[in-house]
Symmetry: D3
Subunit: 243 residues, 6 copies
């Protein structure tokens, strides 16, 4: 069994979508997300003429990424509330990574599609999307627009569950997430190139599921999450270096 403060093994396979400016398949245990960054020389109509760029994200799960098959959102004609919430979080998080003025009038679209789901898909999406984004900027000679490195991890408090980790735990699997009393997602960043810096917080979402939690618990969750984000940042840089 993993230690409480240990993440699952993370691995990035880059260049998997041959047409994309940048792409990677991130594997975090049995959670696998295909991330691509599409860079287009146009911005939405409402942004034209401002000289700055835009970053947006879309998220989806393949119907059989889950234990039992989920209905395809394209067939239902509507994205679920959960999907909308996640893709808004991914977009918001990755906008922190880029200097939009240096990007110029270009749009970066980050597509995160879950091939296999075992907990933490939104965090894996953010962590993988940053790799795809960095590769896309590099491929187009826009490295100077890369302002910050961004990664994300889940963290929680688990009170019960045979065969599961207990207490304050990092990087929850599906079964852990399902039974957690407190469930958080932490997105962190540090300036690009400052590989020694302790990351700061971009977004911290913490939710009591069935019970409330204290200020002290919030702080412990935050601290543990920051160590997870830092370790994912190291893995991101290795992947970029190898690509």
């Amino acid at each position: 069994m993993r230690l409480q403060g240990e993440t699952r093994r993370i691995a990035f396979e880059t260049g998997v979508q041959v047409h994309a400016e940048g792409s990677c398949l991130v594997r975090l245990g049995n959670t696998h997300v295909l991330c691509s960054a599409s860079l287009e020389d146009r911005v939405p109509d409402w942004m034209k003429g401002r000289g700055t760029g835009w970053i947006t994200s879309e998220y989806g799960m393949l119907p059989r990424s889950t234990h039992t098959r989920n209905a395809r959102e394209a067939a239902k004609g509507r994205q679920q509330g959960r999907t909308v919430e996640i893709q808004r979080l991914i977009g918001r998080s990755l906008r922190q990574a880029v200097d939009l003025a240096r990007l110029g009038e270009r749009q970066l679209t980050l597509d995160c599609d879950v091939l296999n789901a075992d907990g933490g898909t939104r965090c894996a999406s953010i962590t993988g999307a940053w790799v795809a984004l960095a590769l896309a900027l590099k491929a187009r000679g826009l490295e100077s627009a890369l302002k910050n490195q961004v990664s994300a991890v889940s963290v929680g408090i688990l009170e019960a569950g045979p065969g599961l980790r207990q207490g304050l735990i990092l990087d929850l699997e599906y079964e852990e997430d399902h039974r957690a009393a407190v469930d958080c997602n932490l997105v962190a960043s540090r300036p690009a190139g400052r590989v020694e810096d302790v990351p700061d917080i971009v977004e911290f979402q913490s939710t009591g599921e069935g019970r409330s939690f204290t200020r002290a618990e919030a702080l412990d969750l935050l601290d543990l999450g920051l160590t997870g984000c830092a370790s994912f940042m190291d893995a991101q840089l290795e992947a970029i270096a190898r690509a």
Copy 2:
């Protein structure tokens, strides 16, 4: 100008929707939200036979609750991502207020409709919806199902803006929210009837807008938010007592 750690004046007008089991119009400065609690003796199909109840929420803004008119979501045929995200937060927060087993096979639907918007509509919705919920349970003799008191407030860090408050500030108005560097929503709870208790955290969502923030800042935001939630809880109890 308000002090940094001061909320706007909050007022609840109860019984405004004559058919609802519980309702109130909450006014938080120029943010006005009509909240109703509908209590039905049925649960969704997927919950039938478990003997427990369900709580859900829907949120909307009247088209002219805002500075310029917003398109009506019913006419566009689709709720925006922001709407979906907010109503999921309200439902999650209020589920903490009720002992679902004691509620029995009943459904509580909390409708929060914004009549006027000036920042903090999601927090005002949660704070008002709790009043409507408590009144609905009382009207139907189900007070014993009321487990916790729940309220919410926004908190943020503002770096600039002529005529606006600066630094760590509580209960942001629209203009403050728009310019905040860090923007949080805090939902807190304490056991029903324990009016002296310091509230604990139900949900803490903190987002860096344009910059990241530190662990120390997160802690300060949390602390200030808890004082705001506590003061809204006092106001909720007065409103219930007067109703």
Copy 3:
């Protein structure tokens, strides 16, 4: 019990939507409708360059304005037939109030949202929307574009029902409307400022519910309705004067 030819008490609270150019909350017994007039300096694309303005309307009911909760149209993704029919009637009626050439290339959008429903919501919407419209034109110095005063009332024939009014009745409550044999809506107008004039007909919709009706009955319904519209016009003018 009200007399057959008597309306419920009508009251207008103006300025309730702080951002709107004009707004009022009209209360007609237990039917309460929030009406706002949004005045924008643009017209729909198909009208550009003609030098004249446009008036349109949207109508909605809050989910718990009714005895039992109604599904939210924004969540269902579709406006009901009844909603579409009512908002078309409101728009058509209020276009009679304004000299579109004098309005110039501006659009007035009238939003009517029902907070509490007890019969006659479409008539209360028209009557309230006129007040909001008149206030909006005044606020922007466009009084000269106000051509006619417009109000509306329901009228019907009720054959049975213990505790209900009988025969030809004015301004039906929900229970009366539900049991009426003949059910009409009358929209009337008179030139702005001609406060002594007997109003003329803008729209008369009369429907037999379960039985047909005669020419003589139609005439009686029309006559009674015109007295109701005239009395609502007096109330509208008082509200404007007080605002």
Copy 4:
């Protein structure tokens, strides 16, 4: 040119939809509507077990029934407000024709599809749908459920227009309707088999387009409309007799 009080020639071709229980193609000048009545041995879920039947209607225009091609509603994914309003009127009008208790737990669906449009399509639809309905009841031995005969005609006041009829006119063509100052639709009925009776009113919708109108004008419109409905009733009976 037609006389003011004269309708266009009306003709019914019955049996045109070979699978329908009853159908007719009604031709009123250049307005051609295909009407079918589908009789099914089931009612909507919400009506089950009451022992009575239900009547509903749907209306559509073929894309090229009009001067310039209209977008297909099925392709746009949404019925227009005008369509919804018309099909509700047709359904309401034809429910007057049938004794729903005698119909038993059966549903009659009236489909009215406009092949060519030259004004008066909703009135032609009602008049034709009654023929289809009567044929369907006859075909299934349910004549005893036919309570009333129903027909409809348009009537209006036209103030100007070279080459067009003037004043109070019956059965408006597209060009007349387009320029009418007052525009009405009258649905009338008389008991089935009472061929000598003057019809009574089922629905009278009168709208001022650009000006209001007086009580006296309303009465004249109603009287002229009733003569038109009566003459369409004679034509309906001939069509049924010939079928």
Copy 5:
């Protein structure tokens, strides 16, 4: 009973939609389709400035064209997969009929609406749409843009069924189509004016329903289909000549 290699009687009634540039009602046994060709002096945005035209098609079935009533697609808010597939086939087939460069920047929209369905509606639609198209080009003096004559027929292999034709059969009725082991649609063309030419293949879609089929069977189906298409081409030319 028809011979195996014989089509049903085909008849074209032209000019049935009075506003259309070209229209015909094609009757193939009990399959009746109303086809119109709308010619507009504009092309879709993505084609502007290329100097060539565009041809598109939409297909629909009236709700009661079938044995039991089908839900109206406009009311359901979505076209079925079958509808989409058929209208794509019609559009593709008819684009072969026209020299798009000679058409110039114009759009031809072919609407095919099924009034009665008894098998072969897509083939009847193509065959009828060509007549409407040819009439529209003629009406607007664009005959030179008519490059090819196009028609379509169904063909299949039927193994069983009392009272039905057996073996390789041409132009299947509904009951035959329903029971066919192999089911094909063949679209053929020949250069406009070359009335003696054997037609070539535009599209051949052959599907095994419940069993696969051999290369030899495919060839027999193709040969029989080509004779059917040729005979429909003769009927098309007669209809054009008579119009």
Copy 6:
């Protein structure tokens, strides 16, 4: 350059979706499709009680599977016509593979999601879906329900294009497909286990793009396609053996 009658290299990676009863990633040159087979112990409502199973398919393309990013269908709220057409073809083709009576009251859903597109995605989907289906049946001990082996390939006639193959060619890449004069998809089958049999035709769809084609050309296309299908069948069997 490939020979005219040669397919691209095909490879199957099985078990890539960890929760699915059967799955494979099929790589055909740069066309990569993730196929999963979900086997559920229920059938659609309309099939209940017949004792036989059902097979259906859904198809999608990841937004950045293509040269330029395509809009996500879930976000647009509607599947494109092309998508609908392809998933109907896949479902129809794979229903030939299974003895539905032996499957019993179970549903097999085949999801085909394109990760990279370079021509022939629908044929690769069918060929891969058969492998996923066979693995799913095996995993659940239902091998006896596997009746036929099914594969598909594209074939066409290419007249021009520098650096491209010419004439009758097998397994078209995107650029070849885009320029083909005649474009076909062939689905073939042979009884499961009869590895020496020449496959028969399940579906043959041939379309002239810009020109028609002759009976002789159709025959050549068919013959070449059958050799391609046979070679894909050998590869499918190897993948199953290795899994």
